[in-house]
Symmetry: C2
Subunit: 157 residues, 2 copies
């Protein structure tokens, strides 16, 4: 598993938030209901994102969370770093602490190449693009609306 479950949950919630253009606060309860993620657990995850200034939160009635920046300015990678940490993106495939250019493990070169592609992807894709992907998919298949497209995934896992 490349990303932790926490991170996956954070990403799913982020994309859902990004798809809500009109940017008012959304309650975590609503997010957890739509995404079929434990409310308690999702709360913890989103707290991390709030601390990392990716989300803005507001307590009390009409409170909730929303993206702290336009969806186009939050990169996939930002979410991953906020939740799983930078280290998770830098690991040697064999888990060797000293692995690097100076002391490459047998897989270093091949793995580095893949990692570069992966990091490029994570760096270039924004939440906006991910949410737009949802919308275009919707446009091309009118039988499935955004909410369904997202929700159908969220069977209990």
């Amino acid at each position: 598993m490349l990303l932790s479950k926490s991170c996956m949950y954070g990403l799913r919630a982020s994309v859902l938030l990004a798809s809500r253009e009109n940017a008012e606060f959304v309650t975590i309860r609503e997010l957890s209901d739509e995404l079929n993620i434990s409310f308690y657990f999702l709360t913890k995850v989103l707290q991390q994102m709030t601390k990392a200034n990716l989300l803005e939160s507001y307590k009390g009635p009409n409170g909730g969370v929303k993206l702290a920046k336009p969806a186009g300015e939050i990169r996939f990678m930002d979410v991953v770093i906020a939740i799983d940490g930078l280290k998770s993106l830098n690991e040697c495939a064999l888990g060797l602490p000293g692995c690097g250019v100076m002391k490459p493990c047998p897989l270093h070169e091949q793995w580095s190449a893949l990692k570069t592609d992966m990091l490029n992807m994570m760096e270039s894709i924004t939440l906006k693009q991910l949410s737009i992907h949802e919308r275009t998919a919707k446009a091309s298949d009118q039988t499935i609306d955004i909410k369904n497209r997202i929700n159908t995934f969220f069977e209990p896992n």
Copy 2:
């Protein structure tokens, strides 16, 4: 973490075995000492590989384990599948159970492309190539011999 620790340990041990051309049984104790991996834990991991017919084991004096096939015929991927399972190579980046061509998650395409590259890599690289990499690295830097190259990594992690 893409691969489990068990899997990393299995790969490290495999590469070490592959670098021992002359293919007599090597004791797990010797492997665990050289790789600085817990003997007990490595034993469990290698048992999985034995069950998967990647290793051959032999009990009693002069016993140990060795590759069940020529190193050139054991792919990186075989070790990963034996230890982490096929499922680990097939996961959706967001952990969505139904994700696929028919019901792609927002990241499906990009992630699929990366996964294809990764699987190609895992499929094409054999233990022989990984062990040869060790040897050529040795040749290009005579101050570091194979054992040191491998061992220097194995600080406690």
